[in-house]
Symmetry: C2
Subunit: 209 residues, 2 copies
């Protein structure tokens, strides 16, 4: 009936996709748990070579997953990240929070002389033990580090994957140097973005692919 | 006061980013209008080399922009695409529609024996003259082509940028072969995704960077 020959079943598509990635990608530097995250992140960008830019600190998966099991919120810098989270995978119906469009953020941005993406973090009032996911704006990641340097409540783990050409690489280097011992997942360099960040959250949310 | 040296002004970050992309990317195969789209799409993925996979049919920009100026809706296959659209750039407060989570979509998917992403298109009831943006699911793009083959109302233009390892490249090849003369923007191969798709929509929505 159709002129196009393609797989119609979502689960089969996922399984075949993950098998292709496992075959083609170099995942040798990752633990089994980290490899599951890497596979989903590769799936989100369509590029197996992206894996060479992934960095997971040793206890990232355990701490990030622990935060979700403890019912802590997920803070996101961008609406696209928040809307990429698969709620059915979350272990405790965790809140997924993005304050970028909160009306107070506009005023805060002027007050602190920074982008709205950075100012939005000043409204993250349950950051202690949370999972923080920066998938868009380098300024948001820099702002997070400034807040931690100043003694802000500590998230359980940080996903640092802003994308772009100005500040993205630098903000992620800064995270790896200045995370105050907080576990992180990073895509080094210019790549990253909301899809890879949401994929990382979704992989953390439930063990196994 | 800060340990981190970075640009705090969003407009300056955009300008510098676009200048870097213009310097590094090979945009020679594009018209000026197409190059603006390409620059924003590169900005969304952090990879200048992605440009070699971009294909714009000759009248894509004019037809897609015309649809938005005529007040037509933007149909998206994924929530992340819809939430990546910058509403302030839209010329006529265009509706941005994603029917993936419509309660009817679940039942439709069973009925047609396809993914929810594909079934969601059966609820796109103002497709004539619209802008269609497929940024996630190859099955949605195949389904669109099947509907057009069967005589469905014709969108003004199609953004075909699903990402992934199973069906993504094939669905985009099929679009370029079987678009029934409808103008398209495509990222060939495995790359693509919601961020590049939303960037393409945002670039179409307003002329100039």
């Amino acid at each position: 009936m159709t002129a196009y020959d393609y797989i119609h079943d979502g689960d089969s598509i996922y399984r075949k996709s993950f098998a292709i990635i496992r075959e083609e990608a170099d995942l040798s530097s990752f633990s089994d748990e980290q490899a599951d995250l890497a596979i989903r992140m590769i799936h989100a960008c369509g590029l197996v070579k992206a894996a060479q830019h992934f960095r997971f600190s040793k206890d990232f998966v355990a701490k990030a997953r622990g935060a979700l099991h403890a019912g802590k919120p997920i803070y996101c810098d961008a609406q696209m990240v928040a809307h990429g989270v698969t709620h059915a995978r979350l272990p405790t119906a965790n809140k997924v929070i993005c304050t970028l469009r909160d009306s107070r953020t506009f005023e805060l941005a002027k007050t602190i002389g920074n982008t709205r993406s950075a100012a939005a973090l000043d409204l993250w009032d349950e950051m202690e033990g949370s999972l923080v996911a920066i998938g868009n704006a380098p300024t948001a990641l820099f702002r997070l580090l400034e807040m931690l340097d100043a003694g802000a409540p500590r998230p359980a783990a940080i996903i640092g994957m802003p994308v772009g050409f100005v500040g993205a690489a630098e903000s992620k280097e800064a995270l790896m140097e200045s995370a105050h011992g907080i576990p992180y997942a990073v895509v080094c360099g210019r790549m990253g973005g909301s899809a890879m960040t949401a994929a990382c959250i979704n992989a953390v949310a439930r063990a196994g692919l």
